[in-house]
């Protein structure tokens, strides 16, 4: 089980900690894509952190659309900490998606 080295992982206690500004700043600083990997829906240890993260990802998608940038550059995934294989699968999926889109126009 392995995942691409293209990904930089930033750990947070809960995806509820991830804010719109974190996603936007990553993109402003030249990240080709950003995704949030939260707990399964309905299984947030802090009740609704992952739902909040999804809404923030949706907001950033909307902003990117407004700016003429592919909204697929940001994504939200849900998986449990026991799903290592799924984590690798998601990483590969996201890297493939971003590779297909090409480098960010924000340089």
């Amino acid at each position: 089980m392995s995942y691409p080295a293209d990904i930089k992982i930033i750990q947070v206690p809960c995806t509820g900690r991830v804010d719109i500004i974190h996603l936007l700043n990553a993109l402003a600083d030249g990240a080709d894509g950003v995704y949030v990997a939260g707990c399964l829906e309905g299984e947030c240890h802090y009740l609704e952190g992952n739902y909040k993260a999804r809404r923030k990802v949706e907001y950033v998608k909307k902003t990117l659309k407004e700016l003429g940038i592919e909204p697929e550059r940001v994504a939200m995934y849900n998986l449990s900490s026991a799903q290592g294989a799924r984590f690798a699968e998601i990483a590969n999926e996201m890297v493939q998606q971003i590779t297909d889109l090409g480098p960010t126009p924000v340089r």
């Binding site: 719109i20 500004i21 936007l24 700043n25 993109l27 402003a28 902003t63 407004e66 700016l67």
Partner: protein, 225 residues
Amino acid sequence: MIVADRKSLDEILGMVADKDKILVLGCKGCVTVCNVGGLKETEVLAASMKIARKKAGRPVDIDTRVLERQCDTEYVSQLADHVADYQAVVSMACGVGPQFLSEMYPDQVFFPAVNTTFFGGAVQHGVWEERCAGCGTCGIHLFGGLCPVARCAKSLLHGPCGGSSNGICEVHKDTVCIWDAIVTKKMETGHLDDLVGVKPFKDWRTARDGGPRRSIREELVKGNI
């Protein structure tokens, strides 16, 4: 509070298209409470503008700052040492902010990032409604606590018009006919007679009809009390 909506990114970017060093200036007053121009929104706007300008191949240098309020000269004056460092300032305060800023710093250009809409409150998270029109002669108590000046499309003071249908205003399907609500409340509380009496005319000179308004509190003008 004063409620506002943010302008589109396109409009804001267009206003400062030829500027390369910008300050995005938030306000901790009403626009923070209605989630349009506080610390968070200021940073989000700055990041969005940076993304857009980098994409366009013309990166822009943007700083952010949030004043306690943009409608008090004592806070606006805190900008004195830095205001000249920028080619433009984008204010996220209500319409009062860019004017107080322009008056204090005539050499700088201040652009409004929000459209100021009304005096109101949040009826649910993310939804604000108008409740006050600032007419200057409050008579809410005469109408069961519901203001027809702000909430009737015609600001009628003596009952509903013919456009009231099943409690809804003809102007918009989401707008309650406030006169229907007033009459219903008066009937339910047994005070319908309150609406029968002839009310004295309303003095509209205290509203916008009398021109720009000024409020002077002599005791405060003289000094702290």
